[in-house]
Amino acid sequence: MLTAFFAARHASDEEFVAPAGIATTRRSPIGFNPGDTVPFFSHSWITPRGHTPVAHCSVISALPSGDLLAVWYGGSREGAADVALFTARLPSASNSWTRPVKALDRAAAQDELDRRIKKIGNAVIFPDRTGSLWMVYVSVTVGGWSGAALNIKTSQDEGRTWSHSRRLTLNPFLNFGSLVRNRPIYANDGRIGLPVYHETALKFPQVLWLTPGPTGSVREYRMRSLPAETGLIQPALVPLDHDRVLMMLRDRSDGRRLHTAYSNDNGWTWSEAAPSGLPNSDSAIDALRLRDGRILLVYNDAASGRENLRLAVSDNNGRSWQPGAIIEAEVHEEFSYPYLLEDSRGRIHLTYTWHRQRIKHVEFNLAWLDRRAVAETASLR
């Protein structure tokens, strides 16, 4: 009777098992030209000069209309009460971003969540299968980022207006400690696996499984933690073939190596994380599976500091990496929190924090990527 009651009221326990399949990047057939053969590279600014003293943690999403939408946070400094989440749009027929629009500030979050909010921070946006756009953002009631909790907003009009925030309870002790940085994976049964991480006392990666309800609501959610992976945060998930998923992790330990872990059941359970051959300066990375099956990585190529931003490519599911182009390099400056996206034309978009002041957007194609990779390999010989 008890079972029947709970089964009637809530989603069945099918959602308590690993997804049967996961959406992967469609691999191009042999001979398919995934874009222009002429190398292409351009850059633009998402934030106008002086928009906010600090701009950080950008994310972009492709919209059904073909536009791109970026979200980031800006304010007087990281963690300040005046920090707000901003969005800007790159219309499909345009080369310049629209002026930033404030999507949420601390006061609005406090009002929507009906509780004290000290500051807001990282946000990610991503679409679901019904066309709703989701925003998951960090808010803090007390303390630093270790006191963070996650909240969800959704949009039915491609990010022009947003629903009220909903708080997610993800951790047992006062719901402290969950943050978000990277894009989700999509299970074939509709579930969304969002990589998040825990920062209170112990620091470790987690995957938040969201079950969407009608019109952008959350029907169910549950968190799967990897508490054994202490010191590894900001997981980036890359769906591979045959139910495999690659997880790449920022290293907060003294080892300062980019770590990788693998799942053979669509992100449900994970192997022990192992250090890769690449350094990590305790900074965020992003990785993306390209249409030709390779994995593109963007990272700070140093064991300390964030003075450069570099691409790397793997053609063996992340086991080894070939160095690619250096996107930025400047002594005593910061280039960080990169985010990648491949659009429907096969163009690759990269956004990142530039000098902590602005958000920069770089666009290139595979022809440019491969030519630069050859050049980098040659220069290393």
């Binding site: 509780r115 951790n171 047992p172 002790f173 719901n175 968190m223 933690s225 508490p227």
Partner: protein
């Protein structure tokens, strides 16, 4: 997913807790037995105080900003204490209180501290399994009810609250234990242990003192 009834539940917890706190405070200020009008006045003052703005939010919203998911046992204990203060009716026997404190200390310690020692274990995850967690709660309630302990009633209440999504959390363990309940339980249990140790020491000293030949002879 869940009906938005948790604000009503939070209001209930707030009113009960603040009313109890006011009654306790009044009793401290005036040790004589206070009359019904004073009890009613405290009751009337409670909802008003809960709407006093603190940092731009009503007091109760501010409180739940920091304490987002009060467990059912803590509501039950506050209600039992309030009932005793208001009507002089003891809903809980000493054994019930003891069981509730011990349960809070054990359940909280296991839930909050297990990742420190067992890194690969995530017990909180099993609280998302609605059916499994509900069966677990039901079994616990039956055990305590069969034992004649009223903690079983609180656990039954927990099961009902969980089934109607009375909290913001969707995780069953948040209905069963919360950090405040855990910390108070640990404090109470620690006090018992210290008292027991002191009493034992006194007993041992008393026995030693009464043994022949152990008295000071100098």
């Amino acid at each position: 997913m869940s009906l938005p009834i948790f604000p009503a539940f939070y209001a209930l917890v707030s009113v009960a807790t603040l009313w109890l706190a006011l009654l306790w405070l009044v009793a401290r200020l005036d040790s004589t037995r206070f009359a019904l009008p004073l009890k009613v006045a405290c009751g009337l003052a409670t909802p008003l105080l809960l709407f006093v703005p603190v940092g731009g939010l009503p007091l109760w919203s501010s409180a739940f900003s920091f304490f987002p998911n009060p467990s059912l046992p803590i509501l039950g204990m506050v209600s039992a204490a309030l009932c005793r203060r208001l009507f002089g009716v003891a809903l809980f026997k000493p054994a019930d209180w003891r069981a509730t404190w011990i349960f809070g200390a054990i359940a909280g310690s296991v839930l909050y501290l297990h990742p420190v020692w067992f890194r690969s274990l995530d017990l909180y995850y099993w609280g998302w399994d609605r059916e499994g967690a509900a069966w677990c709660l039901a079994a616990l309630a039956v055990v305590f009810l069969a034992w004649g302990n009223r903690l079983g009633v609180l656990l039954l209440g927990t099961l009902i609250a969980y089934s109607i999504d009375a909290l913001e959390s969707a995780n069953c363990w948040d209905y069963l234990v919360d950090p405040l309940y855990w910390l108070i339980s640990v404090g109470v249990a620690a006090t018992w242990v210290i008292k027991w140790c002191l009493a034992r020491r006194r007993r041992i000293r008393g026995c030693a003192g009464s043994l022949p030949g152990t008295a000071e002879t100098h």
